[in-house]
């Protein structure tokens, strides 16, 4: 291909001539941003993001439409261009109404993907949910119990009824994970050899340790207490967080660490410098804030005045405590409440919480305050102690001032101010001061260099956790002051990221925050948006009744049952955008660091019709008017179901005539979804909750017809979320039809067979694999040994992979000793192409349609049956190819056709004969071709002379001139392609079509030929793999002695010689009693044939994905795997051998090839393969055209330019 040289950002480069600037840059690895371009579409230059500078041009140029030219000087990233792109993005975002991620995730300090894990719980994927949680929070057992739940405050469900019980759901999966004693332990990366010291085994330290250990670093924890856990252990009472639970979670983390040193204190037993000296390259300080703050009142030093945190720790350490009968707890935080409730449990007679503000301002969790009240804790608000009065050296009472609330202070809460002269006293004998905690600075006496901030906490960068010392990081309460567990976890994780960067010699930098579009704060959202949401009350978390909590420390809350959890997940509104992980707008907004509010103005807020289409969800609020959907529907599909309406700012994309999309001409191909760069068009997920999740993309092949479209199954765990298709693929260029785009997602809805069944007394009963396989083997073996292999038969399936079909026929021939091999999906294989042209397959490629100058579609409505091929025809016609359609009925391609021959299918043969006669009579014969590449012409020509067009013209109801025009077009075309449906065409017709191609020299050469399309997924592969009564793999006749010998050598068995029965013969054989045992694969069986083949006394074995619905039942039913559960190859209708990868585990635990191996073994024939690829290697060894390395490629129709017949010539045949 011709090349042009051009300069791109100062570099001289080359690109294919005729490329646009965008493509030329892409060819050289430079991405120019665009939102409105899709390589499948004509460029439109609407989004204005691809503007570039071209030297000499007036103004900027859109790269998507401007052709590259020799010597062009292009700049793609000048400051001016970046400014323009930012402006474009900011303008788009100024009218973008939606939430990129749900507010719950944004509210979570640890950034847990709440919507994601709730969705997974809804889908029953508890392990996946836990994994997702643990990506940002290693302590779900703990946090699931003690989190203050910032997420629930922001939950949009607050606008409907009550927030989702998010934390209870987290606890549910965490508890579930531990319920079977096999908790999830993530994979650890290979050891890096770097050593990290973590000072403090509290939540921050444990989190950092977890994530650093996973990176492969050697982590050591230094903990001053006898056990790790920090405040989790010594601050949170047992009834909220049982130590046993805490221990489980800590055990997982310490299990990943190198060592944990207990009872060692910084400053006492070691120093930071000392750690460095002993080889720790990075140190994370997470000491917490464990010192109580002083009340600064008289009498504070009395023995009965305890600190809240000290009190709680002493309780855990089981120290002797003598509490009085009337106890005051000073403070309003969680520690105060914990202390009060603990004191009550320890037997204190009366506990009064004294707090200087009112209930509304209390920082403690509302629910815990409530529970404390239930348990009998009293509250005295708006009072502040000024003095503790002693009597006999013991506390006797406290003197308090009444307080009033003034103006709000810096925390936003109203400031308490003492009311002068309002002093009063309360008689108490014990005081617990829980007014706050601080850091123990004495730890650092020997490490003087570390800096502290004004509040006397360690100074550390908020984002990276770096301290003033190189390699020393700090986080958690010792940096932030007392905060929540989840904040400590977040700090620990952020520190781990920084430390990992530091250790791997990357610059320590905050993790980039993706751009987030938000609808607004809770009070800014229109409640009417949720009018259609069904009100469902929040699932109550089961808990001990207040009276059951008396005098014990049993855990109060029980957590959800599975049913409760599922029910609760149903309430989730799934606020975050479905497209968040793929959205191009978000990616570019992040890359260009834009401010979405820079041009803030009126945003359009449009209603969403969730029910307008079964597969497609349109959210016009996220539409950026790039028009890709409109254009793909028109330009590629020719459907025009979408269009622009209105003008200016109010321009919208809407379905035709404003109808619901499903009521337009929409064919549900999903192309609009595939091209939409944002979340404006998304595929409805066929799972209880839609995610979104970061999916694993597994490449596969669409099994729903023989075209062999390349698809990508996007998988989370064992669920297919949606289907996409890679644009760069030679078969379907990213285009799909409804079946490919949406059917794979619904496979989870099927009632799958999971275990073997055997027939007992006319009914099917569950059985073990061993039992079922043994029974199957025994039954078939008996018939083989007594009556011979020809009394056995095998029916295979076009859904099986090449490898599986190869094994199936191998088992039939080598183990069962029969050639009775057939397939009900193609009951009688039409071998006309093989007889005329050497192989039973298309002679040319789909791509030849695009380069053709004439397309002859015979006897099918390909738009209906093979939509993707019809797209190619459409594209070819747009490029200038001529189209002729020969079909009795109207087809959707008719409007594009030069000629439509509406010939009754009964007269097809007459038409073909007349056409051939015309070619011979008027000498349109390609003499050279006929002479050098074919045999049998003379006899054939003589016969055809008997059918002059003139004699039959009257029978067609078509003007003879149109027929002649068709022949002339075909004979004169340079690259004509015939497209036909091999499933429905009659053998005689196919024979004459081959003759027509031969006589005009339009087959067996570049660009010209016949494309024979087949409906079942791997029909071509089944033919190629020898699922045939008379052909071995490679379409080699069983009569071919040399070939047979080769197979016999490799298979170590002599093969049956006589031709077997095909599917029709087998069915007949069953009826006549010639067949006594049958082995059947696949779902294309029972439906078509009735269940006759399973009628006793025939011994039958079925391998299928679902149980037969009604009797008669087979003797043995073995669960089969579907395409998504299978690894292997399919061969499409252009002979392309394509890889499908296993996306999910087979529900039965076994792939089909493994089942076949088991069956073969049971028949006394070993067919052990280490892997699927080793099966293909065996095929490639036996059949040269499948030689290794053909994945993704086509096997050759011609061998060295010769037809695959013995003399290398094609053959004219009469029909």
């Amino acid at each position: 291909m011709a090349k042009v040289r051009f300069t791109l950002n100062g570099k001289t480069l080359e690109a294919a001539a005729g490329s646009t600037i965008l493509e030329a840059a892409q060819q050289n690895g430079v991405e120019i941003p665009t939102l409105c371009h899709d390589p499948r579409l004509k460029p439109t230059a609407a989004c204005r993001l691809c503007l570039v500078e071209v030297e000499g041009a007036r103004g900027t140029m859109p790269a998507c439409v401007t052709s590259i030219a020799e010597g062009m000087v292009v700049r793609t990233a000048t400051n001016e261009l970046i400014k323009i792109r930012r402006m474009a993005l900011e303008l788009l975002l100024s009218d973008h109404y939606g939430d990129c991620v749900a507010p719950c995730k944004l509210a979570c300090p640890a950034g847990i993907d709440v919507q994601g894990y709730i969705g997974l719980i809804a889908n029953g994927q508890y392990r996946e949910a836990l994994k997702l949680i643990k990506e940002t929070n290693p302590l779900p057992l703990v946090i699931g119990r003690v989190c203050p739940r910032f997420c629930e405050t922001e939950c949009r469900r607050n606008l409907v009824d009550e927030p989702i019980a998010i934390n209870a759901l987290k606890r549910f999966v965490a508890d579930y994970d531990h319920s079977d004693g096999d908790p999830y332990i993530p994979e650890v990366k290979p050891a890096t050899g770097h050593r990290v010291a973590i000072i403090g085994g509290g939540p921050a330290g444990l989190s950092a340790a977890y994530y650093l250990a996973l990176e492969g670093h050697e982590v050591s924890i230094f903990e001053s207490n006898p056990q790790a856990g920090g405040m989790l252990r010594y601050g949170i009472p047992e009834y909220r967080l049982p130590k046993e639970v805490l221990d489980k979670e800590i055990a997982i983390i310490t299990g990943l660490c190198h060592q944990i040193n207990l009872n060692v204190s910084l400053g006492k037993d070691f120093t930071i410098q000392g750690l460095k000296n002993s080889g720790y390259e990075a140190i994370f300080i997470a000491l917490g804030a464990q010192e109580s703050q002083s009340m600064r009142v008289e009498g504070e030093d009395l023995p009965d005045v305890l600190s809240g945190i000290g009190f709680l720790r002493d309780v855990v350490l089981k120290k002797e405590l003598s509490l009085g009968q009337r106890l005051a707890v000073i403070g309003g935080g969680n520690t105060a409440i914990d202390a009060a409730r603990t004191a009550l449990r320890l037997g204190a007679g009366e506990v009064i919480v004294v707090y200087r503000r009112s209930r509304e301002e209390m920082p403690a969790n509302a629910e815990e305050i409530e529970q404390a009240k239930e348990e009998g804790v009293q509250f005295h608000f708006l009072a502040n102690p000024v003095k503790i009065i002693a009597q006999n050296g013991r506390v006797a009472s406290i003197e308090c001032t009444k307080m009033a609330l003034g103006e709000p202070d810096s925390s936003g809460r109203r400031r308490p101010e003492p009311i002068v002269g309002s002093e009063f006293t309360m008689e108490v004998d014990t005081v617990i001061a829980a007014i706050g905690q601080t850091i123990d600075a004495s730890s650092f006496s020997q490490d003087g260099q570390i800096k502290f901030n004004r509040r006397r906490y360690i100074e550390a960068n908020e984002e990276t956790m770096e301290t003033s010392l190189k390699g020393v990081f700090a986080g958690g309460d010792c940096v932030s002051g007392p905060a929540t567990v989840v904040e400590a976890v977040a700090a620990g994780r952020r520190a781990a990221i920084s430390i990992n960067q530091y250790l791997s010699d990357q610059p320590v930098a905050p993790v980039g925050k993706p751009y987030n579009c938000i609808k607004g704060e809770l009070d800014e959202i229109a409640i009417s948006d949720y009018d259609d949401v069904v009100r469902i009350p929040r699932t109550k978390i089961p808990a001990l009744a207040p009276k059951e909590r008396w005098n014990n420390f049993n855990e109060i809350e029980f957590g959800f049952t599975e049913e409760m959890a599922k029910a609760e997940t149903e309430r989730c509104l799934a606020c975050g955008c479905q497209d968040v992980f793929e959205c191009k707008l978000r990616q570019l907004a992040t890359e260009y660091n834009v401010d979405g509010d820079h041009y803030a103005g009126r945003k359009r807020h449009l209603p969403i019709n969730k029910d307008e289409h079964p597969h497609i969800l349109r959210d016009p609020n996220k539409c950026i008017l790039c028009g890709r959907c409109v254009r793909i529907c028109d330009e590629v599909q020719g459907i025009d179901a979408l269009g622009f309406t209105n003008r200016g700012f109010d321009t919208m994309v809407e379905p035709t005539l404003g109808m619901p999309l499903a009521e337009t001409r929409c064919v549900s191909c999903g192309q609009c979804v595939s091209t939409c760069p944002t979340g404006a068009l998304t595929a409805k997920v066929q799972l209880p909750k839609p995610g979104p999740w970061k999916v694993e993309t597994v490449s596969s092949i669409c099994p729903y017809c023989g075209i062999g479209c390349n698809i990508e199954l996007n998988v989370i765990g064992d669920k297919i979320v949606n289907v996409t298709s890679p644009i760069e693929n030679p078969v379907n260029n990213g285009n799909l039809c409804q079946k490919g785009a949406f059917n794979p997602c619904s496979i989870h809805n099927l009632k799958r067979l999971r275990t073997p069944f055997i027939r007992r007394n006319g009914d099917l009963v569950e059985a073990s694999w061993e039992e079922a396989i043994a029974l199957a083997g025994e039954g078939l073996q008996k018939i083989r040994d007594r009556n011979g292999g020809d009394k056995l038969a095998l029916l295979s399936s076009t859904q099986l992979t090449n490898e599986e079909n190869y094994l199936v026929q191998k088992m039939a021939r080598a183990a069962l000793g029969t050639n009775n091999i057939g397939c009900l999906a193609i009951p009688a294989v039409d071998e006309s192409l093989m007889k005329s042209l050497g192989k039973n397959a298309s002679t040319c490629s789909y791509s030849d349609i695009l380069s053709s100058d004439l397309i002859l579609v015979i006897g099918c409505d390909i738009t209906e049956d093979y939509p993707i091929i019809s797209l190619k025809v459409r594209e070819a016609v747009a490029k200038g190819s001529k189209l002729v359609v020969i079909n009795p009925r109207a087809t959707r391609l008719d409007s594009l056709a030069r000629i439509n021959l509406r010939v009754n299918s009964r007269t097809n043969l007459a038409l073909l004969r007349a056409m051939l006669n015309y070619v011979i009579t008027y000498d349109l014969v390609d003499r050279d071709f006929v002479q050098s590449r074919t045999t049998g012409f003379e006899d054939f020509a003589r016969e055809m002379r008997r059918y002059p067009l003139e004699e039959v013209a009257g029978t067609f109801w078509v003007k003879p001139s149109r027929i002649i025009e068709t022949i002339q077009l075909y004979a004169q075309a340079k690259r004509p392609v015939i497209v036909l449906n091999a499933d429905t065409i009659k053998p005689a017709e196919l024979t004459l079509i081959s003759d027509l191609a031969l006589i005009t020299g339009n087959v067996g050469r570049d660009g010209a030929g016949i494309i024979a399309l087949r409906t079942p997924g791997n029909a071509q592969g089944l033919i190629d793999m020898g699922v045939s009564p008379d052909h071995l793999p490679g379409q080699l006749p069983i009569t071919d002695v040399a070939a047979r010998r080769k197979f016999e050598t490799t298979w170590h068995r002599s093969l049956p010689l006589e031709e077997g029965k095909d599917a029709i013969g087998i069915i007949e054989g069953v009826k006549k009693g010639n067949i006594q045992g049958i082995l059947v694969f696949g779902t294309d069986t029972a439906g078509k044939m009735g269940n006759d083949i399973f009628q006793p006394p025939i011994f039958s074995v079925l391998v299928d994905t679902m149980l037969p619905e009604k009797p008669p039942y087979p003797n043995v039913v073995l669960p089969g795997a579907n395409f998504a559960e299978s690894e292997g190859t399919y061969t499409n209708c252009e002979r392309r051998i394509q890889h499908l990868h296993r996306a999910i585990h087979p529900v039965s635990g076994k792939e089909n090839w493994e089942v076949v191996s088991l069956l073969a073994s049971a028949l006394g024939y070993s067919m052990d393969y280490p892997s699927v690829s080793s099966i293909f290697a065996e095929i490639a060894g036996l059949v040269p055209i499948f030689k290794a390395g053909v994945y993704g490629k086509q096997w050759p129709f011609l061998e060295d330019g010769r037809f695959a017949s013995q003399n290398g010539l094609a053959k004219f045949r009469l029909a």
């Binding site: 460029p43 439109t44 230059a45 609407a46 989004c47 204005r48 503007l51 103004g59 900027t60 859109p62 439409v65 323009i84 402006m87 474009a88 303008l91 788009l92 100024s94 009218d95 820079h598 041009y599 103005g601 009126r602 950026i624 008017l625 028009g627 269009g643 622009f644 209105n646 003008r647 200016g648 700012f649 109010d650 321009t651």
Partner: protein
């Protein structure tokens, strides 16, 4: 005095009534009918004719009476009840009705600086009569071309004339034709762009209504030159009279063999059909216009390819606007030199302007290129209609710019006008006096263009709306520091990065007002004042007690009852109730209302 020297027919009296849309709207048909019945009743042998636009819109209904001695008198503001007296006194009595006649010197002033090429037949011939057109020398251009010129010679002649596209961009017409001619292909098209959508502009409408054949002839010559056989007249549906007269003209031309197969015995075939645009402003953009003809939503596409390479249905297409095409036959007949001796170095010929706004003599004029704005506004237009000082001139429609009075001596040619930040555009010229608030004016034009955006490209669709929102805020008194900077930033972005000409020129009114009247914007934002006292949120009304005699007229008119008082004592306005409609000010004859 006459607009155009014409052959007299039979020595009769001739009465011509201006019946373009403007004349009809002013009641011209009734005047025509009145003359008709008066003449019939009195059995007078007088030629009563309809004609098109005479250019003096401010005087509609216009009637021209020409005596057998070739003396011409114009009557302005004619009503049906005046007809009898005109007939009796002027036609029978031989003496014009002096008090209704437009003074001859006024007409002379109007015409003195004009040069009528495009408008050569406007207001003189009957637009529904092909004979009138032919009598005036019509269809001689196409005859000349077919009989004595090769297509290339035609293109050379037009190129040499220096004619540039009058649609606004000013691309040399001959060069454009040359491109279309050179483009390979057997099927080519000529399109006449009659989708005139600028508020305040009516040049094309007037030409189509007054002289449709000149445009048809221009298309024929263009078709011959580029090798096209089909033409489309794209006219907006809001111009029913133009469409009606074009239909008549096409039928007549077809009947006479000026269009159709083998025109005038040559082997040149050309046919023309009318396509009505449904009122989308953007369809005046040529690529959108072609999509509209093709039956699709009118959305511009990026050029290249230019229409000359790939236009209508992908075929080479030449698009010219009405005024450009109306020049063509004249150039062919009179020669390139006759045209290019008029005008300036780079802008040849004449330009038609629609004078509107606060101008004394609003109407349709045609002037040689290079004439100054001062000459147009004051010498031809008679200055402002209000008597207030001239503040600014909006040139080029909503895509144009606002030129301050200080630049009144700017010569009107493509380059000079562009230098001011405005554009020549299609020729809308709106005069503003001191009572105009430029922020409000900029908002008006922006509101129009943002509403007319096709919605395709980001900058035009959203950027213009954000600009409008800022202007709106400013006029509501909610402007704040930084607004002008964002406004300017957006204006520059929209101008530099929009896809088509519509978007690229939308910010012009904002940019030019910011350039020439920034202090007025700042007064709105920082002082919360509208210097022109236009923006309601920024002005207050008060009654000056000393001047108020207590007549109560203002209180009677006040729609919200904000004015109260007792007779013969000064009234007062309640600022809470006042909606600043200004009615009080307009009814008070004593100047007792102060606006501040």
């Amino acid at each position: 005095m006459m607009l155009y020297k014409r052959d007299k027919r039979g020595g009769n009296w001739v009465i011509q009534v201006g019946l373009a849309s403007c004349g009809i709207a002013a009641g011209g048909r009734k005047v025509y009918d009145a003359f008709s019945s008066e003449l019939r009743d009195r059995k007078l042998d007088v030629d009563l004719k309809q004609t098109g636009c005479m250019g003096m819109c401010y005087n509609e209904v216009l009637v021209e009476v020409s005596s057998p001695e070739d003396e011409h008198v114009f009557y302005g503001h004619v009503t049906p009840d005046q007809v009898e007296r005109i007939v009796v006194e002027h036609l029978i009595g031989g003496k014009s009705v002096a008090e209704w006649v437009i003074p001859a010197d006024e007409v002379a002033n109007l015409l003195a600086k004009q040069r009528r090429i495009v408008l050569r037949n406007c207001g003189t011939i009957d637009p529904e009569s092909i004979d009138d057109y032919v009598d005036a020398g019509g269809y001689q251009g196409i005859q000349k071309v077919l009989h004595s010129m090769s297509p290339q010679e035609v293109i050379d002649e037009v190129t040499e004339s220096g004619l540039r596209g009058r649609g606004g961009a000013g691309f040399p017409t001959g060069v454009k034709w040359g491109f279309a001619r050179k483009s390979p292909g057997t099927q080519k098209y000529v399109i006449c762009n009659g989708d005139e959508g600028d508020p305040g502009a009516f040049m094309d409408r007037s030409v189509l209504e007054s002289d449709p054949h000149s445009v048809i002839e221009g298309m024929l010559i263009a078709g011959y030159a580029i090798g096209a056989s089909e033409g489309y007249l794209y006219v907006r549906t809001e111009y029913p009279l133009a469409i009606h007269r074009l239909e008549i003209a096409l039928a007549q031309a077809r009947e006479r063999g000026f269009i159709g197969e083998g025109i005038l015995g040559s082997n040149f075939d050309f046919d023309i059909s009318i396509r009505q645009g449904a009122g989308a402003f953007v369809c005046g953009e040529e690529t959108a216009l072609m999509m509209s003809i093709e039956g699709q939503r009118g959305m511009p596409r990026f050029r290249p390819p230019f229409p000359a390479q790939s236009g209508l249905w992908g075929k080479p297409t030449n698009i010219n606007n009405v005024e450009t095409l109306a020049n063509v036959a004249w150039i062919i007949l009179n020669g390139a030199n006759a045209f290019n001796t008029c005008g300036t170095d780079r802008s040849k010929g004449t330009k038609v302007f629609a004078l509107a706004g606060k101008i004394a003599h609003g109407g349709l004029i045609e002037v040689p290129m290079g004439i100054t704005l001062r000459e147009i506004v004051f010498d031809i237009g008679g200055g402002t209609s209000s008597g207030l000082a001239l503040k600014a001139i909006q040139l080029g429609g909503p895509s144009g710019g606002i030129i301050p009075a200080s630049l009144i001596d700017t010569p009107v040619d493509y380059e000079s006008v562009t230098q001011t930040g405005a554009i020549m555009g299609s020729g809308g010229l709106i005069v503003m006096d001191e009572s105009a608030c430029v922020v409000d004016v900029a908002k008006f034009f922006l509101n129009f263009t943002q509403d007319e955006s096709c919605g395709k490209c980001t900058f035009c669709r959203i950027g213009t709306v954000r600009m409008l929102e800022i202007l709106d805020k400013i006029t509501r008194g909610e402007g704040k520091e930084g607004d002008l900077e964002i406004l300017e930033e957006l204006a520059q972005g929209v101008k530099s990065s929009s896809l088509c000409g519509l978007g690229q020129t939308t910010p012009n009114p904002v940019l030019t007002t910011l350039r020439y009247f920034r202090s007025e914007y700042e007064a709105h934002i920082y002082e919360k004042k509208c210097p022109a006292k236009k923006c309601q949120a920024l002005i207050n009304y008060e009654i000056i007690a000393e001047k108020c005699p207590g007549c109560g007229l203002c209180a009677k008119y006040c729609p919200t009852g904000a004015i109260s008082g007792r007779k013969k004592q000064p009234y007062v306005i309640d600022p809470e109730k006042c909606i600043r409609c200004g009615l009080c000010n307009s009814v008070c004859r004593l100047g007792a209302i102060s606006v501040y």
